[in-house]
């Protein structure tokens, strides 16, 4: 296999099969490790996301780089534990700097973050190029830490990864309620005597550990995306934090599978970018297609609302036309409607067709008439419109000129209960502020009869 090619050679299929048969046991471990990392990073990143400290993971990952290089320089070893501790130390120094600077200087938090991030990253890069120039053994592969390489992981790396990620996941499950409380309302948590500072430190430790242990796999540069993107995507799917975190961890694990696989099949491919790209695709899919909050759902909701408003506007226009003729059932033309209501002709035609389909209106060669159901609906809308106008006029002291525009909108969203309440509160006013009669609601018995008819 010679790197990645646009058209996969036949051997790719073979490679893929052998990947999933786990002929190489080491591969199974790498895959498990990366899934665990995807899950734990998503969960712990979720809390950073909720606390509006989304960029902290990015800064901590960059801050780990000089630690890795220093550990290698000082001990001349690639032992995972030594490298891990080195990275942990420098990452924590970065963390305290980010925390200390805004509290004790005029620097704002975002500036402190940016300065720390770039300084540590620059330092790490300098050390890296210094090491590249040295005549030491096993220095090759050290640069893989920038973008991550699943295939370059050793047994020791994976063991450490497993321990750390499982520790992170268990700790989050144990302290879930406290972490949620602090993320939601930190000052309140303090007032009921929760040791907020200790939990903050624990949370920071978990983030730093997840970041550092993930460097081999995801790389310094893109670690932040692995912490945040799953949460950002999962947020579209639920309103319960526990569910959101579970979804986020599943998304994180899934993207880990995809990226590890690609990194194995095409060894020149770094894992990190693939992980982030697959996560971003999952994010975009969530953004578009999530059942409650997705853009598509919101778009259709909006279109439905527009359609409803157009229909109801025509019904009300027909009511007003009828009112002028003292309710003598006379068909009206499109011109009649348009002279009352501004609406583009094609929109008017389409809406009338829909009204016909719903049985609210009829079109004959003579013109347009309301069916009994249509008339009932139109009366209700007019009642709501005029009740609201009266309410604004009488209780909110708005002048008759001001109330119409507002009622034009409210009439579409008033509920049955609100309408009854309005009618009760305004039992004395029979006319709206413009002098038009407010059509009263029929007695309950006749409403029931109407219901039976349907």
């Amino acid at each position: 296999m010679t790197g990645f090619e646009l058209f996969p050679p036949p051997s790719l299929w073979q490679n893929w099969l052998s990947f999933w048969r786990f002929e190489d046991m080491n591969l199974l471990w790498v895959l498990m490790g990366s899934i665990l990392l995807g899950m734990s990073a998503s969960v712990i990143g979720g809390f950073a996301f909720l606390r509006k400290r989304a960029l902290i993971g990015d800064a901590l990952a960059h801050a780990a780089l000089p630690g890795v290089m220093m550990a290698f320089l000082l001990f001349q070893t690639r032992d995972p534990l030594v490298i891990f501790i080195g990275a942990l130390c420098s990452s924590f120094i970065g963390f305290f700097l980010i925390d200390w600077l805004p509290k004790n200087t005029k620097l704002k938090a975002d500036a402190a973050l940016a300065i720390t991030l770039s300084f540590f990253f620059a330092l790490g890069l300098m050390l890296l190029s210094f090491i590249q120039g040295l005549e030491v053994s096993n220095k090759s592969g050290l640069d893989k830490i920038l973008f991550g390489q699943a295939a370059a992981m050793t047994d020791g790396d994976i063991k450490l990864l497993g321990y750390v990620t499982i520790f992170v996941l268990i700790t989050v499950v144990l302290f879930f309620q406290k972490f949620r409380l602090i993320a939601f309302n930190q000052s309140y948590a303090r007032t009921i005597g929760i040791a907020v500072n200790r939990y903050e430190l624990l949370l920071a430790l978990l983030i730093v550990m997840s970041v550092v242990v993930g460097l081999q796999l995801v790389g310094v540069v893109l670690m932040a995306a692995v912490l945040l993107t799953p949460m950002a995507a999962a947020r579209f799917w639920s309103n319960q934090l526990a569910t959101i975190l579970i979804i986020a961890s599943l998304l994180g694990g899934f993207s880990a599978i995809i990226s590890t696989q690609i990194s194995y099949l095409a060894p020149a491919m770094p894992t990190g970018p693939w992980m982030v790209v697959s996560l971003s695709i999952l994010f975009i899919l969530s953004l578009l297609f999530a059942p409650q909050k997705g853009l598509l759902k919101r778009y259709f909701d909006y279109q439905n609302l527009r359609q409803k408003v157009a229909e109801e506007n025509i019904l009300r226009t027909l009511y007003k036309l009828l009112e002028r003729k003292d309710f003598k059932d006379k068909p009206f033309t499109l011109a009649d409607i348009q002279s009352f209501r501004n609406m583009p002709s094609h929109c008017l035609q389409n809406t009338l067709k829909l009204l016909e389909k719903k049985g609210f209106a009829q079109r004959t060669f003579q013109g347009i008439t309301l069916t009994p159901e249509g008339f009932e609906k139109a009366t209700q809308l007019t009642r709501r419109h005029r009740l609201w106008e009266s309410y604004l006029n009488e209780q909110a002291d708005l002048s008759p000129e001001q109330v119409h525009q507002h009622a034009e909108r409210i009439e579409h969203i008033l509920t049955e209960a609100q309408e009854t309440q309005l009618q009760q509160e305004l039992s004395n006013s029979l006319h709206d502020p413009h002098g038009n009669q407010i059509p009263r609601k029929a007695e309950p018995t006749s409403v029931e009869r109407g219901g039976e008819k349907i």
């Binding site: 302290f175 406290k178 409380l181 993320a183 939601f184 000052s187 309140y188 009921i192 947020r235």
Partner: protein, 273 residues
């Protein structure tokens, strides 16, 4: 003025007042917010903290709750520092301080009120849930228990916060503007809650904005404008003179000089001598 003269005809007073503040000073950056505030509140009363915008009312509450640093002075709850009395005190923050988009439902928010009494990773027990349920029922919010907090009206949000404080089963309640921007029915519900709590001998301290209702809703008033203007029972302190002193603008020289003092760190130099 700060001695509590209100309880002359009530039950014998406890040895220690629910809250006693002496010579409290606070600042924000270099600006003095509160200077030398002292008062002692009586038990079993409703107490309003009143003053103009920026007078330091919320800051005072945050200061006594240890949420913002105190420059000088002492705060005692029932004769002890806060750390020994946390379970006896419930704090209701301002609604604006909360991220109402946070993914959590009403019941879980109220259950948070029980966390002060739970150990490290302990989860709320059945009893804790019963208490939270009762608190929600008292505020007529039980029907909303599964609602997302973002789906609530302003008044409902306030009631959830009050239910959370109620679930703490405290003796002293500190509330930051519970009446701000709520509907009539919530206002009534809060007044009912005050009555019920008072009947149990609990003390309520509120930051309050509305001068029209302060005499009706509260037994005691603390007038504040960067310093203490007056504190005492409504009948004696709700006077035109006190209102003028409170709302008539700050003493500008006092303000300026205190600010200069902090800026030059004079007080620190003085203390180090």
């Amino acid at each position: 003025m700060s001695k509590n003269s209100a309880d002359k005809n009530s039950s014998p007073p406890l040895p220690f007042a629910p809250l006693s503040v002496s010579n409290l000073s606070m600042r924000y950056h270099h600006k003095p917010v509160l200077t030398d505030v002292s008062f002692t509140v009586p038990e079993g009363k409703t107490i309003a903290i009143v003053g103009p915008n920026g007078a330091g009312k919320s800051t005072l509450l945050k200061g006594v709750m240890g949420l913002e640093p105190i420059l000088d002075g002492e705060v005692q709850f029932f004769g002890e520092p806060l750390t020994n009395k946390r379970l006896a005190i419930a704090y209701v923050p301002q609604r604006e301080e909360i991220d109402w988009d946070f993914p959590i439902n009403v019941f879980d928010v109220v259950l948070m009120g029980r966390h002060g009494q739970l150990k490290l990773w302990q989860r709320p027990s059945q009893m804790d849930k019963e208490i939270a349920k009762q608190a929600l029922q008292d505020l007529k919010m039980w029907d909303f228990k599964d609602r997302q907090i973002s789906e609530l009206s302003g008044g409902q949000q306030q009631r959830v916060f009050l239910a959370r404080a109620l679930a703490q089963k405290a003796s002293l309640y500190l509330m930051d503007e519970p009446f701000a921007g709520v509907d009539v029915s919530t206002e009534k519900a809060i007044i009912e809650l005050f009555k019920a709590l008072k009947a149990q001998g609990k003390t309520i301290i509120c930051v309050h904005h509305d001068l029209n209702t302060v005499g009706e809703y509260f037994d005691w008033i603390i007038f504040i404008n960067a310093r203490l203007v007056a504190a005492g029972p409504v009948e004696t302190v709700l006077t035109k003179e006190n209102l003028n002193k409170t709302y008539g603008g700050r003493l500008s020289l006092l303000n300026d000089l205190t600010e200069t003092m902090y800026r030059t760190q004079l007080n620190r130099a003085h203390d180090d001598d």
